[in-house]
């Protein structure tokens, strides 16, 4: 992109003292605004493109992902390519030394992960700590102690930091490349489980604090310890699930008349919440800690209150009033709550709700308070707010509230808080489900066009909800469009979706099924086209079933699908296809409905073919259907049959007996005619 500037003069305006030009402002060439301000201003003129997928994907019909699974795998593939490239660059740094970036971009240059200093010295220890080599730094420390050199307090503290952060385990060899998102998914799973399974899950991931590990040993060896050392140890113990030791160490800290900092207090609150069994004991202990915090003149921060609320979540109903107390305290101190705060409160109040008992109205208060606010990331759990808020809206079946939540999402930069893929999909699925249930169909369809596929890929359940909404609003003309979208988003082989579509199309005959020589009005034309469209759709669905059959040996056609397809073909006048469908009944051993057989009889009569009529009766008798009698009578009455045809009819087994057949047949056909 090339842009040209042309300025007037060299900036010397001193000579322009004469009258009319005294009002000229000083033209300074210096840029005193943010470097990207112009780009941001231009970006504000552009909105989201509603037919495109996110920009990370290649915009080509073949390369666009069609479902959330695919989009995830594409993004992972991209990221793994980047990681592979980084790995190659870091393994062979000598080939990648040429630097064409101006100004210098450090992250494009190869990084060195091996320690360079080989001697036994404090500098070497510091280097290993910086490179996060846990075992090597512990070894270096021991060597230094054996050699008799004292290690400074600062370095020892940073060594303790390293050990406590990693729980005395080596970070995995390629920690630079790993995604850090595994832990939050597991955390979400554990939230909804009971305590027991939580503990089980807890042992599967994360590190447990072993007694007498290196951290404790080094801590014991330290000649002098300051507050930082104690704080690090306490936080490490809480992180790696050793709350008892943490509290003991805290007692020791107090004995040494040292003060803990706010992060340590946050960890201690977490520790007390895990210990003890009774809720009020836990709460009292937490209050104790807070009082001590005040005594030590440590100011609480946002994390303090968020930790309290997070622990209160597990207290079920007991936690409600302490939570509100906490919120009031927070506001009194002047700390602005973050989205995570509201998320915890929502979880606390709506976790184990039953509708008959009456739901809390706290969500309305929350929304009233935060509507229109722009949030910035302050807590790792901030991105869980929107999911829980939308869950509550869906639970309360309140569309206005959902609109409020969605409006909040679109304020400022708040859309960054929507979270990873699965959370986003959940949020939008619930939102769309609510729209289908409660909003007018035009507005729903507009939302559908707006959200899909640029924001989320529809689940098959979403499409089923949409179909039901169309059904309620009597907009069945959109059903072929929905089928087309289903194919596009990878749901072509879901039989429940296909059955629903076929059932909706086949339920009522559309007006004007007869071929019109001259359409009387445009609505007739439209209705006729609708029947045609339905038949095309049915043919398409049939082909998906057939291709499925070809791949898997077992036949997959469900009975209702067969029925509906045959009816649709008949109504659109595609008699050949319809008769082929009839053959499929016998092949797949599915039973046709009696209305279907009657319609076939009508069509056979219209085409005046007794052979077809007899075929229908034979099919009915093969399945021993009760309607066989009625059909045989119709054949006798309406068709001109030859002698052998009549004999053939007479010999059909099911139609011979008169005992348990339908009561509206009034003539015996015993013995045949």
């Amino acid at each position: 992109m090339q842009c040209e500037e042309s300025e007037d003069g060299g900036g010397s305006l001193g000579s322009l003292a004469e009258g009319p030009l005294q009002a000229l402002p000083a033209v300074d060439g210096s840029v005193d605004r943010d470097k990207v301000a112009v780009l941001q201003a231009l970006a504000s003129t552009v909105n989201r493109d509603t037919t495109a997928v996110p920009y990370a994907f290649q915009d080509d019909p073949y390369l666009i992902p069609t479902s959330s699974v695919e989009s995830r795998s594409f993004l992972l593939a991209k990221k793994s390519g980047e990681n592979a490239a980084k790995f190659i660059i870091n393994s062979h740094p000598k080939y990648f030394q040429k630097d064409i970036a101006e100004p210098h971009i450090p992250c494009l240059m190869p990084e060195c992960f091996e320690p360079q200093l080989e001697d036994v010295s404090e500098a070497a220890l510091k280097e290993r700590i910086k490179l996060r080599k846990v075992k090597a730094s512990v070894d270096m420390f021991d060597q230094l102690l054996q050699a008799g050199t004292t290690v400074s307090l600062e370095t020892t503290n940073s060594l303790l930091d390293l050990l406590c952060y990693y729980g005395d385990q080596e970070p995995s060899a390629y920690y630079n490349f790993q995604q850090k998102e595994k832990s939050e998914e597991l955390e979400e799973a554990t939230e909804e489980n009971t305590e027991k399974s939580k503990k089980r899950a807890g042992h599967q991931f994360g590190v447990t604090w072993r007694a007498k590990n290196n951290a404790e040993r080094i801590f014991a060896l330290m000649p002098e310890k300051n507050a930082h050392s104690y704080c690090t140890m306490i936080r490490g113990m809480v992180k790696h699930r050793a709350p008892v030791q943490a509290l003991n160490l805290y007692a020791e800290l107090l004995n040494n008349r040292l003060h803990a900092d706010v992060n340590t207090f946050n960890s201690l609150i977490e520790a007390t919440a895990v210990m003890n069994e009774k809720f009020d004991e836990k709460w009292n202990n937490m209050l104790e800690l807070l009082k001590q915090m005040v005594a030590q003149k440590v100011k609480p921060n946002l994390q303090t209150f968020n930790t309290i609320l997070k622990c209160l979540r597990r207290f079920y109903a007991f936690g409600k009033s302490p939570a509100l107390q906490t919120l009031r305290e927070m506001k009194a101190i002047g700390i602005e709550p973050s989205l995570a705060t509201y998320h915890y409160i929502i979880q606390l109040f709506y976790q184990h709700e039953n509708p008959p008992k009456g739901s809390s109205l706290v969500i309305y208060d929350i929304m009233n308070e935060i509507v229109g606010k722009k949030f910035s990331p302050q807590d790792p759990d901030d991105d869980m707010f929107f999911q829980s808020a939308m869950k509550v809206c869906s639970f309360l079946k309140d569309l206005e509230l959902a609109y409020q939540v969605h409006g909040l999402l679109n304020t400022g930069d708040n859309r960054k808080f929507i979270g990873p893929d699965h959370r986003r999909n959940f949020y939008y699925s619930k939102f769309f489900n609510l729209l289908c249930l409660m909003e007018q169909i035009d507005v729903t369809l507009q939302w559908y066009k707006d959200l899909v596929p640029s924001v989320f890929f529809p689940h098959s359940q979403t499409l089923m909800d949409l179909l039901q909404a169309l059904d309620v609003a009597n907009r069945l003309d959109m059903v072929p469009q929905v089928w087309k979208d289903s194919k596009e988003y990878g749901h072509a082989f879901r039989s429940d979706l296909k059955e629903e579509i076929l059932m909706l199309m086949a339920r009522d005959p559309q007006p004007a099924e007869v071929v019109l020589i001259k359409p009387v009005s445009s609505s007739d034309c439209a209705a006729f086209q609708l029947q045609e469209a339905f038949a095309d759709c049915a043919a398409d669905i049939r082909s998906t079933f057939e291709s499925q059959d070809a791949r898997q040996m077992a036949p997959q056609w469900p009975a209702s699908a067969l029925n509906c397809t045959a009816v649709l073909f008949l109504r659109a006048g595609r008699t050949q296809d319809a008769w082929k469908m009839l053959g499929l009944f016998r092949k797949h051993n599915k039973i046709p409905r009696s209305e279907l057989l009657n319609e076939f009889m009508d069509s056979a009569k219209a085409s005046n073919s007794p052979a077809q009529a007899i075929e229908i009766v034979q099919l009915a008798s093969a399945f021993s259907l009760p309607v066989c009698e009625g059909l045989t009578q119709r054949v006798m009455a309406d068709f001109a049959l030859s002698q052998e045809q009549k004999e053939a009819l007479g010999h059909l087994p099911a139609c011979d007996s008169d005992s348990d057949s339908s009561s509206d047949s009034d003539s015996d056909i015993s013995g045949g005619k």
Partner: protein
């Protein structure tokens, strides 16, 4: 060797979706589809464009897979609507145009020197572009304070850089590595040229007729010739007292001088040649 999966057991080949132009509404927000300069995407542009040399009895190729459409630069991101929106957004960064400068002449009067610079932006790791150091300085000589000799000397000094029709001197500098240095150098050149053209060196006295920019009639060979001719005529007519000065003062000589000067300076044309003919005729009393 590994077993080959049979055709029917392999997962079916991924099919391409229909192009997203089918989903686009007629009144959609086009600047959102193409916000920045992007290559031509046939699945995103809902126009039935064709390009390419057709085969015999054929039409130009359609847009799908058309390399010609990819090669050319497209301005799909700069529709008039988009430009209007951009201008609206950029208004906040602009200062007011000074109300006193409301005509071109005033601009020229107060800001006679114009500087042209170009900045380049491209996608890549480096923000440097060697083409960005070029500085072009333009000034009208009429706004510089030059007398006749100074102007002629300046024009001789700059040579190609002066355009006679627009009276504009253009100095383009790129010999320094930085734009600021080139700008300083251009201003320095202008200053030096100005001062040098006002000075008169000793050797300028040796300016010959070949160095003259325009034709000067006094002391030229044409003057000598005509005066000699006229003196000879006068002598043949027994009228030897007429002096050169007297002859020079006559109207016919003035006229002749004007015609010769215009002929030499402006070149041959119908007008000048016929004027010359008339003046010669008058001079030699041939009319």
């Amino acid at each position: 060797t590994t077993e080959r999966t049979s055709r029917s057991e392999r997962p079916p080949r991924r099919k391409a979706l229909p192009p997203r132009t089918e989903k686009m509404a007629v009144d959609q927000d086009w600047p959102s589809v193409y916000p920045v300069a992007a290559p031509f995407k046939p699945s995103a542009v809902p126009l039935p464009v064709r390009m390419g040399y057709p085969v015999k009895m054929g039409v130009p190729m359609a847009k799908e897979g058309n390399l010609e459409l990819l090669k050319i630069p497209n301005f799909l991101h700069l529709t008039p609507v988009a430009i209007k929106k951009h201008c609206e957004a950029l208004k906040d960064f602009c200062t007011e145009w000074p109300a006193a400068l409301d005509s071109d002449e005033k601009c020229e009067k107060h800001f006679p020197i114009e500087i042209d610079t170009a900045d380049y932006v491209s996608a890549g790791p480096s923000i440097r572009n060697p083409k960005a150091r070029v500085v072009t300085l333009r000034v009208k000589l009429s706004s510089l304070n030059l007398d006749d000799h100074a102007k002629k000397k300046l024009i001789k000094l700059v040579g190609e850089r002066y355009c006679k029709t627009t009276d504009v001197l253009t100095i383009k500098t790129d010999r320094c590595p930085l734009k600021r240095q080139n700008y300083d150098y251009a201003m320095y050149l202008l200053t030096v040229l100005y001062h040098e053209s006002w000075k008169t060196e000793d050797w300028e006295k040796n300016k010959t007729e070949a160095d003259m920019e325009e034709y000067i009639w006094t002391n030229s060979s044409s003057e000598k010739n005509i005066l000699e001719t006229l003196l000879q005529i006068k002598a043949a007519e027994k009228n030897p007292d007429v002096t050169k000065e007297e002859l020079l003062g006559t109207k016919e000589i003035e006229d002749y001088k004007k015609c010769v000067v215009s002929l030499k300076n402006e070149g041959d044309s119908e007008n000048t040649l016929s004027q010359y003919k008339d003046s010669v005729k008058r001079l030699l009393n041939l009319t």
